[in-house]
């Protein structure tokens, strides 16, 4: 990299970091009135939303990532060339689909379908577990998680697929040369792109945490903590979206900004934990 390309890159990255820092700083600054007045009680006040955000995003990620990885592997390893490009286009199209459509589809089509075909079964036969202890509601944590998973898996899949397709053929050939089969090839290639995989999971998780409209519709906006996944609940972005329009006083507005700050902290915390658990620096 010579000087004429290095300088614009440096300036661009510097401004990007500065912008990021400014956004976080302005949110923190706007939350100050609420944090000063209410203090750490704010966590207790908004616990239903915090709980909901964590539950929904975690379940969504656990559903979405296997789907995304599976789709990427299927597209690259198993599809013939011509059909592969069709699937790639569909995959990218789904990733850019307006999320509000997912929300309404989830509430009106997927919700009733899942309620009759799956949730009722879970409640009737596994109802002794706290997760399925309430009668399935029209809108619930589980419905929101599933809709969210459907929404973020094309996105994660696009990212993973791109990195997976760039793995050099040498790796394939050397594994076959050792006498191992396709399944081993896939496993080794996945561990080869482990860091990129984690990056894709992080981005998908961030998107899931921040998703507002689709989750707002399918979770029921019920300000309550429930251990049952079939009960309605609320997430932080949904709460902010609901209350922002009618936040009259500076204190109300400031509380919503502090909620945003809490969401940012939660997201960062989970990503750090994930990094510690899944991505180890150095040789394995």
């Amino acid at each position: 990299m010579n000087k004429t390309t290095a300088i614009p890159i440096f300036i661009g990255s510097f401004f990007l970091c500065l912008l990021l820092f400014l956004i976080i700083f302005s949110i923190a600054f706007a939350s100050l009135p609420a944090l000063e007045t209410i203090g750490f009680n704010i966590l207790y006040m908004y616990m239903p939303a915090i709980y909901g955000s964590i539950v929904v995003s975690i379940i969504a990620i656990f559903i979405a990532i296997p789907l995304a990885v599976g789709l990427s592997i299927f597209i690259i390893e198993y599809l013939p060339d011509r059909i592969r490009s069709i699937f790639i286009n569909i995959n990218d199209l789904m990733a850019s689909f307006p999320t509000i459509i997912y929300g309404y589809w989830g509430l009106y089509e997927l919700g009733p379908f899942l309620n009759t075909k799956l949730f009722n079964f879970l409640h009737n036969y596994l109802g002794f577990l706290p997760f399925f202890s309430t009668k399935p509601s029209t809108a619930s944590y589980l419905l929101a998680s599933i809709v969210l998973a459907i929404m973020i898996s094309p996105f994660a899949s696009s990212l993973i697929r791109e990195v997976y397709s760039k793995i050099p053929n040498i790796l394939d050939e050397s594994i076959y040369a050792l006498g191992l089969g396709k399944w081993h090839v896939i496993k080794i290639k996945l561990s080869y792109i482990r860091k990129a995989l984690f990056g894709a999971i992080t981005l998908a998780y961030g998107r899931g945490l921040g998703e507002t409209v689709a989750v707002d519709l399918t979770i029921g906006s019920s300000f309550n903590i429930s251990y049952s996944l079939l009960a309605p609940g609320i997430t932080i972005p949904a709460l902010i979206a609901n209350q922002f329009g009618s936040a009259f006083s500076e204190l109300e507005l400031s509380s919503l900004f502090s909620l945003a700050l809490i969401l940012f902290v939660i997201g960062s915390l989970f990503i750090l934990i994930g990094k510690f658990v899944f991505v180890r620096n150095g040789k394995r």
Partner: protein
């Protein structure tokens, strides 16, 4: 070596040429964007005062209104009719809830705010400091219907679903949990209720409909008073702990009730008609169970004493309660005006004229029976005259608009 040196310097010359072309292109683009945006921002203002009669059909303006989802169907109909008469005045209405409507009106995002209850006193005082004198005027009459989803319940077979303020207070405070609670069963002998949990649907956003409903509960039921939930654009809903759902806007509540068996919700009458939902018969102060029909709602209006109305620029927050619980034996107890809030004095003449013309339309042509949507009632004649008189207050630089038209 000589060959290499040559290509390096020509390469650099070509790159410098390309770079300078790029810089010129960027500068031209910036100039174009700046010029276009300046034209758009400044080109449409017209602040010249005039003392001759103004021809309204020549005026072009755009108005943004927003707020109550309660009146949304009626407002959309009015806007459509208005646009056919004054095609150069573009009006849009954003149905975001009364709370957001009032908030955005104060912030200046909306030219007119629509709210189902007048601003509470503190908010009204704050609005007056920000926008100067604020005019609050009722624009339509509506009722809050209680919709429900009871499979196998049919009013022709089982009679109406009878409910009282105490029962509704019990449901929404979480004290009455099951449909077959003795309080509900005893007033509905014609139907055998199943032992199912009531899914209480309320609003997730700042709602005038919630304000009217909770104010009515507060005034009509000791259960509600003792629950300490109170009333307002938003309240804390303990029923959420029992699986209550919160919908966005009147439409959101309607959608949840339609889809959820054994649910109950509160919406403006129009939404129950448009979605073919049964409504409950509510016990009024005379002891009769009444459905929300045009007749039962209009009977509530007969007890209005217009001499109790404040001036449009004063605090209207006590008026909501006037229409609730009318003593007439056949009246529906949960009736309300919906209101528009607008500032009195403008410094943009075109906007002031457009607003005056639009409001004048609503309170003359808009109030004619054929222009009122099913589920609403026009303002009583004396209220219409009262409002038309108060409209004269709208002014530009303290000069009253109606004198110019």
């Amino acid at each position: 070596m000589f060959f290499l040196h040559n290509t390096h310097s020509t390469h650099r010359k070509m790159r410098n040429k390309a770079l300078s072309k790029l810089v010129i292109a960027v500068i031209i683009a910036v100039i174009i964007v700046a010029g276009v945006s300046m034209y758009l921002l400044l080109g449409n203002q017209n602040n010249s005062p005039s003392s001759v009669k103004i021809d309204v059909s020549k005026i072009s303006a755009s108005l943004v209104l927003g707020g109550s989802t309660f009146i949304n169907p009626q407002m959309q109909a009015w806007i459509q009719q208005f646009s056919s008469i004054y095609p150069n005045i573009a009006v849009t209405y954003q149905s975001v809830g009364s709370g957001a409507g009032v908030n955005n009106f104060i912030k200046g995002t909306y030219d007119i705010g629509a709210t189902d209850v007048p601003m509470p006193t503190d908010l009204w005082r704050y609005a007056t400091t920000v926008k100067g004198s604020v005019i609050t005027i009722p624009d339509i009459v509506g009722g809050v219907a209680i919709i429900f989803n009871l499979p196998n319940f049919n009013s022709s077979k089982n009679g109406n679903l009878n409910l009282t303020a105490d029962v509704l207070a019990g449901i929404y405070s979480g004290e009455i949990i099951y449909w077959d609670d003795s309080l509900i069963q005893s007033i509905n002998p014609g139907f055998h209720f199943p032992h199912e949990k009531i899914v209480a649907v309320h609003r997730s956003d700042g709602s005038g409909t919630t304000f009217v409903f909770t104010l009515w509960l507060f005034k009509s039921s000791d259960i509600w008073v003792n629950s300490n939930i109170g009333y307002g654009y938003t309240v804390n809903w303990p029923v959420d702990k029992l699986g209550g759902l919160a919908g966005e806007g009147n439409g959101g509540v309607t959608a949840y009730v339609k889809q959820t068996s054994f649910s109950i919700g509160y919406v403006e009458v129009q939404y129950s008609i448009a979605n073919n939902l049964q409504t409950a018969a509510i016990k009024n102060p005379a002891g009769n169970y009444v459905l929300p029909t045009p007749q039962s709602v209009s009977l509530s209006l007969q007890s209005i004493d217009i001499s109790k109305f404040p001036n449009a620029t004063q605090d209207w927050s006590n008026i909501t309660a006037l229409l609730l619980n009318s003593p007439n034996p056949s009246s529906y107890p949960i009736v309300t005006f919906s209101y528009l809030v607008v500032q009195k004095n403008f410094n943009d003449q075109i906007k002031a004229i457009a607003i005056y013309v639009f409001l004048e339309f609503i309170f003359t042509t808009g109030q004619k029976q054929q222009n009122i949507i099913n589920g609403y009632l026009p303002l009583p004649g004396n209220v219409q005259s009262f409002v038309l008189n108060e409209l004269k207050l709208i002014s530009f630089n303290n000069q009253q608009i109606y004198q110019l038209l």
